[in-house]
Symmetry: C2
Subunit: 130 residues, 2 copies
DNA sequence: CGGCATCCAGCATGATACTG
DNA sequence: CAGTATCATGCTGGATGCCG
C-alpha cells in the first residue's frame, strides 16, 4: 500500500528490495554523514576555497588525522576539489565540486531541520558561542 | 564573502559560529543518520504502520537489540509513534509522526542523491582504509 | 604549511541467551 | 510477539610524534 511520494521515490530509486544488507548506498551515506564531513562541507558552502588551517579552524575540535581523512574521503567521492600548488611553503586549497554543492544543500537542509527539532522552539544560535 | 543560498541558510540557522564543538545538532544528526534509523524510517515511509517483525524483516540484517534501540531513540526524538495494544500476544505498531514524515523526506532525498553518485559515473569511492 | 604513521580508547554495534 | 540483559568486538575517532 504505497501511498506517499516519499515511498514512491524510494521504490523508484531502489526497487522493491528497498535497500538490503550490502547496499553501497549505506556506506556512501555513512561517509557523508560522518562526524566531520557535514562540518567541512558546510564550511565550504559559501563558495570560497579554504586552506587546511582555515578548515581546521572552522571545524572546531577536529584533529589533523580526521581533517585529512575526511577531506580525502570527500575528495575520493567527488564532493571536494583539492588544488595543491607546488610552492614552498605548500599552498593547498579545498573547494566544493558541483556534486559537493548539491550534497551540501541536502545536508544543510537536514541539519537545520534536525536542529529545529532537537532544540525545540529555541533559536539555534544561542548555544553556539565557543 | 557569503554568496550561496546554502551558506545564507546556514548563517540564518546557526549564526556566525556555524556550529562548534558541543553543538547538540551534531548529536541529533548522528542519531537520525545512525546505521539503522534511515532504514527503519524508509520502511515506514509509505504511511502504513508496521509491527516489530515486519520492521525486522525490512531492515535486513538488523538485530533485536539494534531494532529496539533505534526505535526507542526515534520515538524519544519524536519521529516515530509507538502504539502498543495491551493484548496477549502483544500487538505493537510503529508509524511515523508528522515530524518523522518530514525527516524521512529529507533522508530519502539524501539517500537517493548519494546513491546516484555512488553508483553513477564516479569511481566508487575508494574506501578510506582507516 | 600541510600533511602522514602509529598507537590507543570509547562507543556503536553485534551475538547470544532469556522473558512476560 | 515483542522485547531485555549480558558480554564481546570492531571501527570511528583522538593523541602524539614525525616529515617534505
Amino acid at each position: 500500500m504505497r501511498v506517499s511520494a516519499t515511498s514512491l521515490r524510494l521504490a523508484a530509486a531502489f526497487g522493491e528490495g528497498v535497500y538490503t544488507e550490502n547496499c553501497p548506498t549505506r556506506e556512501a551515506l555513512t561517509r557523508v554523514t560522518s562526524r566531520w564531513a557535514p562540518l567541512l562541507l558546510a564550511a565550504l558552502s559559501d563558495g570560497e576555497p579554504l586552506r587546511w588551517n582555515e578548515l581546521r579552524h572552522r571545524a572546531s575540535g577536529i584533529t589533523d588525522k580526521m581533517l585529512s581523512q575526511t577531506l580525502r574521503t570527500l575528495e575520493a567521492d567527488g564532493y571536494v576539489h583539492r588544488d595543491a600548488r607546488p610552492v614552498v611553503p605548500p599552498h593547498v586549497e579545498y573547494s566544493l565540486t558541483p556534486d559537493g554543492v548539491e550534497l551540501t544543500e541536502r545536508l544543510v537542509d537536514l541539519m537545520i531541520f534536525v536542529s529545529n527539532r532537537a532544540l525545540g522552539s529555541a533559536p539555534a544560535a544561542t548555544r553556539l558561542a565557543d
